[in-house]
Amino acid sequence: MSDSHTRHYLMIWIWLLALVVLSVAAASILPKTQALVLIFAVAVVKALLVARNFMHLKNERAIIYALVLVPLAFIIILLFALFPDFVYRG
């Protein structure tokens, strides 16, 4: 197995673990709202690290991106479609 691949995957793994430590630290140190923003920003970064490096999305063609982005867009639309409920009622 080529060493450069191994090193790259190990580096990504170390980053992922470091980000877990960061979000746990944020949850215990920062005020609630700031902590939540940081925690979910970190989760998105972790997901992108896994998708781009371990799932090799960064070398993938546009059709694969399209497959993933369409359902993701629908989920975000769904989320915002339900927002009026707690914004106006909650």
Binding site: M1, S2, H5, T6, Y9, L10, I12, W13, L16, L17, V20, S23, V24, A27, A35, L36, I39, F40, V42, A43, K46, A47, V50, A51, N53, F54, M55, N59, E60, R61, I63, I64, L67, V68, V70, P71, L72, F74, I75, L78, L79, L82, F83, D85, F86, R89, G90
Partner: protein, 184 residues
């Protein structure tokens, strides 16, 4: 990437993962909306075992690394090494389910069942569905592991990558479930 077409198996796997996004995404979106819409119910999450969830996060992130190492080994036709990494991935997956089992048991013993309230319904629903996905991934990895040991994987080595794609997806779902349930 070069001009080569995407292999059909890979397109199929991504198509399947794309269909999984609304499954977990729908649950997560509903969870966020219900949680933001009703004050106080997040206190239930204080009863969850944070340490065990942290251990599980470590296990699943590490298993993503070992399964991609198996893919790299299979690509270079080093099936001995691929088998070792697949074996490790299976162990981490079983470890995850074992820890989850301990968590469920403790919670149920303390009286927190899926019927204990909306938080618990979401908790058992989301982690249960995720756990089933981990179990399915373990089964696929066991089949590949046996193939790697017997030498039959050589004709189908691309399957290690496809199984890995699914495994990483399950890992990404946990990346979001962990803060949603245990940190927020």
């Amino acid at each position: 990437m070069s001009g080569a077409a995407v292999p059909p198996g890979k397109t199929g796997t991504w198509w399947f993962l794309a269909s999984e996004i609304p499954v977990f995404g729908g649950l997560i979106a509903s969870y966020i909306v219900v949680r933001l819409g009703s004050a106080g119910w997040g206190e239930s999450s204080a009863h969850l075992n944070f340490t065990l969830a942290l251990i599980n996060t470590f296990l699943l992130l590490t298993s993503s690394m070992t399964v991609v190492m198996a893919h790299a080994a299979a690509q270079e036709s080093d099936f001995r090494r691929a088998a070792n990494y697949l074996g490790l991935t299976i162990l981490f997956g079983l470890g995850f389910l074992g820890v989850k089992g301990v968590e469920y048991t403790t919670e149920i013993v303390h009286g927190f069942t899926p019927a204990s309230g909306i938080f618990w319904s979401f908790y058992y629903g989301m982690t249960g569905l995720h756990g089933l996905h981990v179990l399915a991934g373990i089964i696929v990895n066991v089949v590949l592991w046996i193939g790697a040991l017997k030498g039959s994987l050589a004709q189908n080595s691309h399957r290690v990558e496809l199984a890995g794609l699914y495994w990483h997806f399950v890992d990404i779902v946990w990346i979001f479930l962990f803060p949603l349930l245990y940190l927020a």
